[in-house]
Subunit: 229 residues, 2 copies
């Protein structure tokens, strides 16, 4: 890794990378006992599928709407009677997800070492603002970037370009951090240096690119970013 | 439906619509007893995911490669030791899938009533040619259209446009038939009249468009296409 320029800025994916969607599963299981895991899994799968399809067909609607559409489908598919109140409660979880335990410390450490920090997410501006406020991270990021600015979704290169434009850096001067294998792969295609937060020990995606580094949490990121001696 | 022009041509999706991928599951279960269903399901999920990601990031490789990549990932993810011989056997299934029982009769009936017929598929030209030859359908289609001609995947509108260009028709003069809810939705976005082959009674996708008609098999398609009196 010594051949690389030191990374001047780091862009983080939000959902699953900084923010733990586990609380969605817990509430889902309270509402539909024994089905919480199936519901949250299918919800997430369809949420991503709908972002890809809408981006590819140029039919953008924002992530709040996509997330609600995906929830509706997942409940229908599983035969769960999801009333308006349940849907509202589940959707509201997306505004107050907790960060993973190491996130605050790691972000403060990177900020202390002079790195520019950004969120780069599919989430709508309102969703990301609510998340950051709820988690007390407002003052840590130089930029909170939503794909809504370009009305498409990852992995469209216009989404990733938001980060290089915000910092006025080339992709190789930045590190992109995501827990989503497909997101890390597309970030590498775009030209970012990449760090994969592989929290559950998944195999690499077979997309012809590998992350430059990976860790079981963000705790391993500062060492990766530190200049070598 | 009387307000529509009579459909002059019909474009069919291939995998799951005309051709049954069930034999893949059977072989997978022979190779990995008890895991065939999980393997074939994850294989298919990743295969589609990889087409969307590659199309969205403009990183096209053909469907044979995508299918093999997805198989490799699915086996890794499930912890299955997939050797070269197993992989070759599973991949070869994709060249000799059987048609669903009603397919031959329905296609011949539509051809007899003067409809133009096409396949419009993510499959590579070689894969589609092998499938049609194996199933004895060579002489029924006016066009066997592969997205390979435009180096992208559904749901990119350039994929659907292959069909309107081939017949020199507007989308509203054609019916697009697919068993994949997302494919039918994107076909409707493109402007096709759509018929959803909903073989397993799935709910509609929540993408803001509904198929014009649906049936549990292709058997209901000729009545839908017949001119009304």
């Amino acid at each position: 890794m010594n051949e690389h320029l030191p990374a001047r800025a780091v862009a983080f994916d939000a959902y699953g990378t900084l923010f733990d969607v586990h609380s969605v599963r817990q509430l889902a299981d309270t509402l539909f006992p024994g089905q919480g895991s199936a519901l949250s899994q299918l919800w997430r799968t369809k949420q991503l599928e709908y972002t890809w399809l809408r981006a590819l067909s140029d039919r953008y609607v924002d992530f709040w709407r996509v997330t609600e559409d995906a929830l509706r489908y997942a409940a229908n598919r599983l035969g769960l009677a999801l009333d308006d109140a349940d849907r509202t409660r589940l959707m509201d979880q997306y505004l107050r997800l907790l960060t993973f335990p190491e996130v605050g410390d790691v972000l403060r450490q990177l900020k202390g070492s002079g790195h520019g920090l950004a969120i780069l997410s599919n989430g709508s501006p309102e969703m990301l603002e609510a998340l950051c406020r709820h988690a007390g991270l407002d003052d840590l990021f130089d930029h909170v970037l939503s794909v809504d600015a370009v009305k498409t979704y990852k992995t469209d290169c216009r989404a990733y370009r938001l980060a290089t434009h915000a910092f006025n850096l080339s992709p190789r001067e930045m590190v992109f951090v995501s827990s989503n294998g497909w997101d890390v792969a597309a970030g590498a295609w775009f030209g970012f240096r990449t760090f994969w937060v592989n929290r559950t020990g998944l195999p690499h995606d077979e997309l012809g690119v590998a992350p430059e580094a990976e860790g079981a949490s963000l705790a391993e990121l500062p060492a990766f970013l530190a200049p070598r001696h």
